[in-house]
C-alpha cells in the first residue's frame, strides 16, 4: 500500500510541476470509481504517466455515475470539460446524440499515430457501444453482467442442485420452505437484471428499432412479453411465504445474500470481491435461470457498467495522448489485472486468454460465468444491447412500477404496461429534443 501511495503522491506532484518543467500536456479524466476501484484507476493513470513523457493523465473522482456525467455536461456547457469522462451504459444514447460534444473513439484512434483495431474487444462488449456499422463510439472500461449467485450450503440443506431454470428456482424454494427456511431469492438493479437481461436472455426485444440502435423513433415493448409478466407475477406472489424478498433498487439487497437469509441472488458479476470477503458459506455463481415457458435455450446476456467517452473542444494534439492512454489501458496485462481484482469482465479477447493462461478460472471456479454468458451466442438484434434516450429516468420509472408490483398495488401486467407507457412518453421527449 505504501508504495502505491507514494507513487500517487509523486504523480500528483509531477502533475503540478509538469506544465512549467517539461511542457507535458495534461489529459483530464473524470471518473465515478470511489473506494478501492478508484485506487485502481489511479494506479492505471500513474503507470501510463510513467511510461512516457509527453502526457500526464489526471484522474479525478466526480461522484457516482450520475454526478460524474452531469458534472461533465455542466462543465461542457461552461467550456471547462475534461478530455475523458466515464459514463454508465444507460447514458450511452444521451452521449451519442450529442454530436459536436463528443469525439467517437474510433475517430480518435484512427486520427492518432498508433496501431489499433476494434476487433481486439469482445463482441458482446463492443456491440453495446458501436454504431450499427460497427464503429466503436466509446471505450469499454468496466463491464459486468448479471449472474445468479447461490449459497451452496443452503442448496445442500435443501438437497437440490444449482437451479438452471426458473421452475427449478421455485422447486428449490419449496424444498427450502419444507426445511423451514423462508427466503429463496432476491435481486438488485431489477430493471437491468430482471427485465433488460431477461428479455435478451430469451431473445425477445426490449424495444422496437433493434432496441433503439436503429433510430430515435423506438418504443418499449417490455409489456408484450407474456412470459415475463407471468414470471414477475409468480415472483410477486411468492412473497406471501417469504420465498422472494425485495431489497432495494441497486445493490442494497446484497446483505440478504451474504447473511445467509436468501439462497439465491441475481445481480452483477462484479460483486465477486465482496462475496469473497463477506460470505461465510460456500458460494458460487451460475448463469441466469431460463424460463422454459419462453425459450428452450438461452441467447446471451447483456452488459452493464461504464465506458470512457472523449469530449471535443480541446487541442488536436491532446487527443494523441487520449488515444495513447486508451491503447495503454487496453493492454492484456492491465485488463487481465483489472478483471481479476475487480470482478468486471475483461474487455479484450487477449485479456481473457491471459487470465485463462494464468489459471485464474481454475483457481476461482465460477468467475468465467459472466464472460461465458456474454459470449454464449452471436448477439442478435434483441441481445446486442439497448440504446434508449432518457434511459436513466426510464429505469426510475421501471423501478417505481415494479415496486408497486412488489407491494401488491398492481399486477405484473399492469406494472409492465404502465412502465412501457410512461417510458415511451420519455422516449418521445428525447426524440423531439434531438431531432
Amino acid at each position: 500500500m505504501k508504495s502505491t501511495l507514494s507513487m500517487t503522491a509523486m504523480a500528483s506532484v509531477m502533475a503540478l510541476a509538469a506544465p512549467a518543467a517539461m511542457a507535458q500536456t495534461e489529459i483530464n479524466f473524470w471518473h465515478a470509481m470511489g473506494g478501492a476501484l478508484g485506487e485502481k484507476v489511479e494506479e492505471m493513470a500513474t503507470a501510463y504517466n510513467e511510461s512516457q513523457d509527453d502526457f500526464v493523465v489526471v484522474p479525478t473522482y466526480k461522484g457516482n455515475y450520475t454526478e460524474n456525467m452531469t458534472a461533465a455536461i455542466a462543465a461542457f456547457r461552461a467550456g471547462e470539460q475534461p478530455h475523458i469522462v466515464q459514463v454508465f451504459e444507460v447514458g450511452t444514447a444521451t452521449m451519442m446524440a450529442a454530436q459536436g460534444a463528443i469525439k467517437p473513439v474510433y475517430e480518435v484512434m484512427e486520427n492518432a499515430d498508433i496501431e489499433w483495431s476494434s476487433d481486439a474487444y469482445l463482441p458482446a462488449v463492443r456491440s453495446y457501444y458501436s454504431t450499427p456499422e460497427g464503429q466503436l463510439l466509446s471505450l469499454p472500461f468496466n463491464s459486468s453482467t448479471p449472474v445468479m449467485w447461490y449459497n451452496q450450503d443452503l442448496l445442500d440443506q435443501a438437497g437440490k442442485d444449482v437451479p438452471q431454470t426458473w421452475d427449478e428456482v421455485f422447486e428449490l424454494a419449496d424444498a427450502l420452505q419444507a426445511e423451514g427456511h423462508e427466503c429463496a431469492v432476491s435481486f438488485g438493479w431489477q430493471s437491468w437484471s430482471m427485465i433488460e437481461n431477461y428479455l435478451a436472455w430469451h431473445n425477445q426485444p426490449i424495444g422496437t428499432q433493434q432496441n433503439g440502435f436503429a433510430g430515435f423513433d423506438t418504443e418499449l415493448t417490455i409489456d408484450e412479453s407474456e412470459d415475463l409478466a407471468n414470471l414477475l407475477q409468480r415472483i410477486a406472489d411468492s412473497q406471501e411465504d417469504g420465498t422472494f424478498v425485495y431489497g432495494g433498487r441497486r445493490g442494497d439487497s446484497l446483505p440478504l445474500f451474504t447473511s445467509g437469509e436468501c439462497a439465491l441472488w441475481i445481480n452483477s458479476s462484479a460483486y465477486y470481491p465482496d462475496m469473497v470477503e463477506q460470505a461465510e458459506f460456500n458460494f458460487g455463481q451460475t448463469m441466469l435461470p431460463l424460463n422454459t415457458e419462453a425459450a428452450d435455450a438461452p441467447q446471451n446476456s447483456i452488459i452493464g457498467g461504464a465506458t470512457l467517452w472523449v469530449l471535443s473542444g480541446h487541442e488536436d494534439a491532446d487527443y494523441q495522448g487520449v488515444a495513447e492512454f486508451f491503447d495503454f489501458i487496453s493492454q492484456p496485462e492491465i485488463q487481465a489485472d483489472w478483471h481479476m481484482s475487480t470482478g468486471y469482465v475483461p474487455i479484450t479477447t487477449a485479456a481473457y486468454e491471459l487470465a485463462q493462461e494464468q489459471g485464474f478460472y481454475d483457481e476461482n471456479p465460477g468467475t468465467q460465468t459472466a464472460i461465458e454468458q456474454l459470449s454464449l451466442n452471436e448477439p442478435t438484434a434483441n441481445s446486442a444491447g439497448l440504446r434508449f434516450g432518457n434511459f436513466v429516468q426510464i429505469r426510475d420509472v421501471i423501478n417505481e412500477e415494479l415496486e408497486d408490483l412488489w407491494s401488491g398495488d398492481q399486477t405484473a401486467e399492469e406494472a409492465l404496461s404502465n412502465a412501457a407507457e410512461r417510458g415511451n412518453a420519455m422516449l418521445r421527449d428525447f426524440e423531439d429534443t434531438n431531432m
Binding site: 505504501k2 483530464n28 476501484l37 473522482y61 461522484g63 455542466a74 471547462e80 470477503e277 470482478g343 468486471y344
Partner: protein
Amino acid sequence: MVERRPVLNFVQHFVLILGAAIFAFPIYLAFVASTHTGIEVNRGLPLLPGDQFFQNYATVLGEGLSTAGAPPIGLMLMNSTIMAMAIALGKIAISLLSSFAIVYFKFPFRVLAFWTIFITLMLPVEVRILPTYEVVAQLGMLNSYAGLSIPLIASATATFLFRQFFMTVPEELTEAARIDGAGPMKFFRDILVPLSRTNLAALFVILFIYGWNQYLWPLLVTTDESYYTVVMGIKRMANAGDSLPEWHLIMATAILALLPPVIVILGMQRLFVRGLVEVEK
C-alpha cells in the same frame, strides 16, 4: 425548581435521559462501527465497541483514505474549515454592513436594495445549482476557495436577522451618539457591533455548520483533489460502485468530521444560546 414533586422530578429525568439516549444513539453507533473491522460491520453491527479503534483511526489519520479513494483527511478537514470559516465570516461581514445601511440610513434606492437582498432569503443553492455553476465557471472560480464559499454567501438570512436585531436597539443610543458628534462608522464600531456580540456568536455557529455540511456544491466546483472537503470524502468512500463500502473507515472519518462543528458549538455554547433568544425577536 418552583416546588418539590419527587414523582415529576423522576419523570423529567427519565424523559430527558431517554431522549438524550435516543438522540445520541446513531452517533454512538457510528462510533461503534468505527471500532470494528469492515467485515464485522457489514455482517450486522454489534452494539458494543470493538477492539479496532486504534487500528481504524490510525489508518484514517495516518495512511490517509487513499485506500478508500480519497485525499488525506488532514487536507480535507482543513479545506472544510476554510470553507466553513469563509462562509460564516464572509456572510456575517457583508450582512452586518448592509443591514446597518438599511436600518440606519435613509437614501434613494434603499427599498430597492432591501428587496434585492431579501428576495434571496431561504432559496437554497440546490434549487439553482446548475446556472450558478455556469456563472462560477465563467468567472474562472472553479477549484478555488472563493468558488467554494462566495456563491453560498449570497443569501439574506443573516441580513434579515441583523435587521431584526437593529430594530430593537434603543433610539436613545443613536441620539446620544449623534449628540456626542460620533459619525456613523464610529457608532457602528463602538456601539452596534459590541451590542450584537451574542447575535454574532449564534450566527457564526449556525453558518459554520451550514458551510461545513455542504456536499453537492463542493462536489460540482472542485476537480482538484486539493480542494476536497471532508463531507465529500465521506460520500466518496460510501460510493464504492459495484462493491461494498468500507463502513468502519467511513464511520471513523464521519466521527472525525463531526468533531470540529461540535467543538464550535460547545465552545460557543453560552454566547450562542443567549444569541438565539435575541436572534428570533
